[in-house]
Each structure stands twice: as C-alpha cells, then as structure tokens.
C-alpha cells in the first residue's frame, strides 16, 4: 500500500515540529526518515500511524484519505524504539495480542492463532523463546519479537521508530541486514526513522533527510551521498571538509586557490561554502599542476581499512581531514610533522544565501 503525505504541519506550542511536509512512499518501498534528534522525523512517523494528529494536511493510504481514520483502522504495524513489549505476557501472547483483541467475528480460531504466531516466530528465528517473558530476552531478541508482533496483524504498512537505536553496534549491524532481507521477502511498504546515516545508507531504498521540521532532500542512498542538495545534507551524511570563499565565473576562490567547479558559471563574486569529502582530498609530496594548499601532517590514525590523516594548512592553520587507502598511505610513507601538498577534488559549492 502506498502512502502519500500532503502539506503536513504540526506545532507543539510555539515549536514548529513539522513544516509543510510532502512525501510519497510507493508500495513495497523501504524508506528511511533520517535526521538529527528533534528534526520531526518521529513526529511524522507517529502522524502516519495515527498516534499523533497533524494540525494541517492529509495522509493518503493507497489514494484514499486516511487523515481522520482511527489508529486501529489504519492497518499499520508499529515498532517502538524501546520495543514496548507487554512485560507481563509471554512472547507467544505478545505476538498473539493483535489477533486476540479482534472482535469475535474476525478473530481466528485458537488453532489458527497458534499456527500464525509460530510461523511468525520462525520468521524472526525465535520460535524457541515462545514461553519466555520480555524481561528475559536480550535487546536484539526483543526487537525481533516486537517486529513479529507488529507483523501478526498483517499490516499494509510497517513503521519503525529508531528500530536499532537501543542496541549495541554489533547487534545493530546484524539486525539491519536481517531487516533488509526480511523486507526483500515480504515487500511490505515500510518507513523507518533513524539518526544514523550509515544505517539509512545501508538499509533504505530511499532516504528522506530531515532537518528542523523540513525535508532537505529525498533520494536514493547514492543520490543523497553523492549529490547532497544542501550544506546540511552534506554535513549530515558522512565527514566533510568545509571551506569558505567566493564563487566567480565557474571558479571557487578559496583563499589563494582557484578551483574549477561544474556549475555557477554565471555567478559573479558571491560568498559561498565549498565542501569536499575526506576521500576527495589528494595528498601529494610534490606540487602538481592542479592548485593545492601546502600543509603539515598533524595527526595520523591508521586503524581500519582507511587511513585518516589530519593536515594543518600553512596559510591559515585550519585543519583539513583526508582519508587515504592503505596502499596510497604506504606509497607516500607519511610521517607526522612532514610538509605536503593537498589538492581538493570534486568540490561542491553552495552559495551563501543572503539573510
């Protein structure tokens, strides 16, 4: 089932939680709402679920207006950040809850409930825990039970609020891959909220980047990472070096450097910010043909597949971060305190918006 979000506004007192939000989630897609805490992503998810009411705007499920539809009739599955399992019920009863509370006419028989609950517990690979109570489970197990419980009512839409937020790093990684596979099996339209860009980039079909109640960008993980639509998205998705300068006739002038850029050919001497990812900083022993800053290696962190090098520019002492492959690092044989040249590639420029 597709979800259409039209002109949603939500205020909490004087705080503008959501500001004219428009978003389409096509059937079967896995969409991530990504943003820092307080950006309104959870509020939007709760409005889709019907747990919160929007001040203005409408929500359409499969083309029909669901704005005033009761939570119970929206046929959504919701997975809460802290699982919200019923602590006094066994795992089995937790998963069976949604079936047991149905009116007698539509309630499945006891045998059918058993069959379906066990099928779901097998799906989340936790059938052996059916008789346990939630406090007896680990965080990852609880999260999977919460998912099985949400799926038990056969929802048309699955909504997940920071589904892996409370788990440790290792479990989080395993579980998000598992969620991706599960989604590929079930093809249920899903929206999940996260503040972890790595998680969004790895799991989602599409990412909605939000900031301060607004949508900054909607796009595939590739798009939002490679073509960030705003400085915010650039800074939020991964590490970035930021330079201040001016743009004039297709060139970015950063202090003594004039860098070629793809756009802004008509722009006339306008203040701007330039962004370069650390892996687009080339470190050279000799000055090449391209413009480069001279810098001193101030810190080297060689743990992991990439070597992180901090360089201090000699003209204004600011720090530039570079990421090198291990091969390149060995080739250069960099030592702390050595003088090198750094050459930014793939510079992306955002003109300063006059206030």
């Amino acid at each position: 089932m597709s979800i259409e979000i039209r002109n949603i506004h939500k205020r909490f007192g004087k705080f503008n939680a959501l500001n004219n939000i428009n978003l389409d989630v096509p059937t079967g897609e896995l969409v991530a709402l990504l943003g820092p805490s307080g950006c309104g992503k959870t509020t939007l998810l709760r409005i889709i679920a019907g747990l919160e009411a929007a001040d203005e705007g409408s929500i359409l499920f499969h083309g029909s207006d669901a704005t005033s539809r009761d939570v119970r009739e929206r046929e959504v599955g919701f997975v809460f950040q802290h699982y919200a399992l019923f602590r006094h019920m066994t795992v089995f009863e937790n998963v069976a809850f949604g079936l047991r509370v149905r009116p007698r006419k539509t309630r499945p028989s006891e045998a059918e409930i058993h069959r379906r609950v066990h099928a779901l517990l097998e799906l989340v690979q936790l059938d052996w825990l059916a008789g346990r109570y939630p406090p007896q489970l680990s965080g990852g197990q609880r999260q999977r039970i919460a998912l099985a419980r949400a799926l038990a009512v056969e929802p048309k839409v699955l909504l997940l609020d920071e589904p892996f937020g409370a788990l440790d790093a290792k479990v989080r990684k395993d579980l998000r891959r598992w969620l991706r596979r599960l989604h590929d099996e079930l093809h249920i339209t899903s929206v999940f909220v996260t503040h972890d860009q790595e998680e969004a980039l790895e799991v989602a079909d599409r990412i909605v980047v939000m900031n301060q109640g607004n949508i900054e960008q909607i796009g595939s993980p590739q798009d939002v990472y490679d073509q960030p639509a705003s400085p915010f998205v650039y800074k939020f998705l991964g590490n970035v070096n930021q330079f201040h300068g001016r743009v004039h006739a297709g060139k970015a002038h950063i202090d003594t450097l004039a860098l070629d850029i793809d756009d802004h050919h008509e722009t006339d001497n306008t203040p701007a910010h330039a962004f370069v990812r650390p892996h687009d900083i080339e470190v050279l022993r000799e000055r090449g043909t391209q413009p480069a800053f001279s810098a001193v290696v101030s810190y080297i962190n060689a743990i992991g597949p990439l070597v992180r090098v901090e360089l201090q520019r000699q003209d204004n002492q600011s720090i530039v971060e570079a990421e090198l492959t291990r091969e390149r690092f060995r080739e250069l044989a960099l030592q702390q305190g050595e003088a090198v040249y750094i050459q930014p590639r793939n510079v992306r420029v955002f003109l300063d918006v006059p206030n």
């Binding site: 747990l51 019923f86 949400a150 009512v153």
Partner: protein, 298 residues
Amino acid sequence: MSSTVSHLGHYQAKVARSRATSEPAWIRWSLIAIALAFLSLFLFIPLAAVFTEALRKGFETYIAALIEPDALSAIKLTVIAAAISVPLNLVFGVAAAWATAKFDFKGKSVLITLIDLPFAVSPVIAGLIYVLIFGLQGWFGEWLIDNDYKVIFAIPGIVLATVFVTFPFVARELIPLMQAQGKEEEEAALVLGASGWQILWRVTLPNIKWGLLYGVILTNARAMGEFGAVSVVSGHIRGMTNTMPLHVEILYNEYNYAAAFAVASLLAFLALVTLALKTFIEWQSARSARTTEQLSEE
C-alpha cells in the same frame, strides 16, 4: 624495608576505607538503641497494652464484648462503609491515575491538587462540610427532609465522609507508577487494534496490579479506622450509626475498659493484617522489579 613500607601503606588504606564508610561501634549501637527505644515506646508497648487490657478480665468477657448486639452492629457498619468506599475509590483512583498519567490536558495539575485535598483538610472539617451541605440547616437539608432521605446521622453520611478521607489513597499510589511506565505499551496495543477497554484490562491493569492492591489495602485500613470525619456526621446512635472506632470511644467514656479494648483489639488486629499484607506486596513487587532488571541487564 620497602616491603614493610608497602605493607604499612596497605594496612592504612584498609583502615581509612572502613572509617570512610562506617561510624565507630559505639555510635552505631547507640543509634540502634535509640531507634528501638522509640519504637517500643510508641508502637510495641501500646500494641501490647491493647491486647493485655482486652484480655484482662478473661477470654469470655472478651468474646462477650465482641458479640454484644451494639458491637456487632458497629462492626457491620464499619464493614459496610469500607465495602462501599473501597470499590468507589478503586474505580475513581484508577480513572484519575489513568487520566493524569497517560494523557495531557489543560487543568491537569489542578486535578492532581484536588485529588490531594483530603490529605490537607482535617477530617473533622471534612465531616463538617457534609453537615453543612446535607444537615438540617444545610443547603439540601430541607429538600432531603421533604423527600424523607437521611444523610447526616445515618449510613449515607458515614459512607460519604469515609469516601472523602480515603479519596487520594489509590490515585496517589498509582500516578507515579503509571507515569514511570509511560504509555508506549498502551500505544502498541492501540496500533494492534485493541479497544480502550481491552487496553485497560489486558495491558494497563496487569502492569499496575501490585501498586493497585497496595493502594486498596491502605484505603481499606483508613476506611475502617477513620474517626474524626465519621464522628461529626454519625450522631453516635448506638446500634445504628456507630462504627467501630466510635463504639470504642463510647465504651471507654462509660468506663467499660475491657469491652473498649476488646473492640480496639479487633482494629489493632486489622492493622497488623494490613501491615503483613503490605509487606508481602512490597516484597512481591520488589521481587518482580528486581528480576526484570537483572534479566534485562544480561
């Protein structure tokens, strides 16, 4: 030499640590002695006195004082007052706690303050309020007489006064508990399609059962033991509007000490049962909270 020094250092560290965490023996023992003396003076000795005085003239006199018609009627009235006010406050307390802990609305803090009002008002004033409203010269006095309803100096007045003084017990017990538990489980149930009643019965009540029971027991103890408010509205009609505490007072004023203490011993016994139940419930809820924590840490 160096080893001696390090030994010494180690020893000193040990002494310092034990000094840092505990007082010298004489302070500890005198504190314990003071606490015990205080408890004996104000709790154990009076409690023992009640039972000794009650049984001073023998077991038969004791029983006779309890099965005498006026005493039986007082016991009956006390049980009736408790049997009406406890369920009323149970329902009200759950409703008030549910509303204030799970929802946000205007005037919420005013409501919570109002719930606490009976704690702040002297029970005698509480009784007087009802006399002023329902009494002969009260607001509704004439209308009540015309329609032949008796509130003051009758059972309804006693029940009203009891309900008033026990008003906050259940709600006060539940509000912090329900606030701490949050509303995620209720929201989860809602999304899964449960109705309001189903959520209350299947999710909310099971989560607060120990706190609720605790509140009920406290309410019951207070309902049976209330003196001041009930005294004002009762009229002290023997065999008619006397509750147990009032009956004790009458007997005592008539110098019938054995009977007074016999009835008093029943109330004291009720207090002991209440304490035992309260301890059991605290132990139970602490145990379930502890297992929850332990297991979730694994």
